[in-house]
Amino acid sequence: MGKVKIKKKETRIDMTAMSDVTVLLLTFFMLTSTFLQKEPVQVITPPSVSEEKVPVANLLSVLVSPEGKVYLEVLGSQDSTDNKKYGSENVRAHMLQYMAEHYNALHPGANISFTPEELATFSKCNAFGVPITRMKEWLRLPTDQRDKALEAGPGIPIDMNEDPNKPNEFQQWVQAAYNSIDEELRDAVVKGSGISIKADQTTPYSVVNVVMDNLQTIKMNKFTLMTALKTEEE
């Protein structure tokens, strides 16, 4: 009798419970993960003890490459479909329109306008940085070539400009964010938490200084610098 019982005993382990657990974990990671956004230049931010986190919404980040090329990334308030005013995509489309109008106003002879399709394409771009005169051309490129064109391109035109009445293109973009239709982004930019400079630690100060001076000229004296975490040594 005893012999028969031992023979019938199952040696395989039931994997159902294990599978349940892994599926649960998988769901958790899928829902919580935010993928790293692709950036035109890779930068290693310098360490600092500051513990303030980078906001996930309402942020205009100025990406500065070591050579001095400037790119912008815009995040509106958390994306919502029911409201036309808010969300990254609406903000970007509005910014481009604002930019075209104000560029034309400042440069007599320039006649830049964008079709709704172009605005829609632009609103899907997380990072951008081409002169406004070449924006149409850039938006016509297929998605995969757009990133390469950004890397190879000159970035947003920026120079030492101390006349707030004649802003350069970079300053106009910042003003576009300042006057964006998204009130939350506008508030964040005014308060200073909405503008962040992201530069590599090996970047010469003169390069970062150009960006800071440009912001200062258009009276944006408050902004943040993006840094990596470092623990305070006592």
């Binding site: 993960s33 200073g192 962040s196 200062q216 975490l229």
Partner: protein
């Protein structure tokens, strides 16, 4: 034959083997775990003085006894055009620049080291701590209380009260607090500038500003460099 097949059907296991499923799930979990950005970047808040003239005049009224000017210099790699953070140099002087005997290489400018480690020169952390002694002592007391949950049993409340108290001490005008003016040469690396801004945070200094370097500063710096080389 018929009997045989019947017995076989009875033995057929209806349970599905979940091992491959688990394998696949584990793989996917690993993928998502590696792809997520768990560590978020930090931000450092700064406020530049407005570049209007009225403010500039006010700026100059900073009490000389309280002012300390820090100058950050660095080196640029000729090949890549990038600054080298590990080659950064730091200079400082108290109050106004003393240039009466600059021709002989004498001024009140001194060299310093980044961070807290004493090297050939004094470390900047110690220098700033010394000048902000009154505030640092008070904040350290607060910190002790904060660590023992002295403000509140609730962790969040404890944090927020501590931060508010710390801010109050840092803004207390009855204490002796320095005004730090940070200047950087074009050769300085961004990392070095951020590390000096960081020292403000560490030493609880809330009165500081970033300014442009002028001829007097660079002349003094050249003399200090020369003197250090002679040593």
């Amino acid at each position: 034959m018929a009997i045989k097949s019947k017995s076989r059907q009875k033995k057929f296991d209806t349970r599905i083997d979940f091992t491959p499923m688990v394998d696949m799930n584990m793989l996917l979990i690993t993928f998502f775990m590696l792809c997520t950005t768990m560590i978020k970047s930090q931000t450092l808040q700064i406020a530049l003085p407005s570049n209007e003239k009225v403010e500039n005049e006010l700026k100059n009224k900073v009490k000389e006894s309280e002012a300390i000017t820090i100058i950050i210099d660095g080196e640029i790699d000729e090949k890549t055009g990038l600054a080298k953070p590990e080659e950064g140099m730091l200079y400082y002087y108290d109050g106004k620049p003393e240039t009466s005997n600059l021709i002989n290489g004498e001024s009140n400018m001194k060299q310093a080291e980044f961070g807290s480690k004493q090297g050939a020169y004094d470390a900047i952390r110690g220098i700033l701590q010394e000048r902000n002694k009154e505030v640092v002592l008070k904040v350290n007391d607060l910190k002790k209380k904060w660590k023992d949950m002295g403000f509140s049993n609730n962790e969040e409340k404890n944090d927020s009260i501590f931060q508010a108290e710390r801010k109050k001490v840092m803004n207390d005008s009855t204490l002796k607090r320095p005004v730090v003016i940070i200047k950087a040469t074009p050769h300085a690396s961004y990392a070095n500038v951020v590390s000096v801004l960081d020292e403000m945070q560490i030493n609880n200094i809330n009165r500081y500003q970033i300014d442009r370097i002028n001829e007097v500063d660079s002349a003094m710096m050249i003399m200090v460099k020369k003197k250090n080389l002679e040593k």
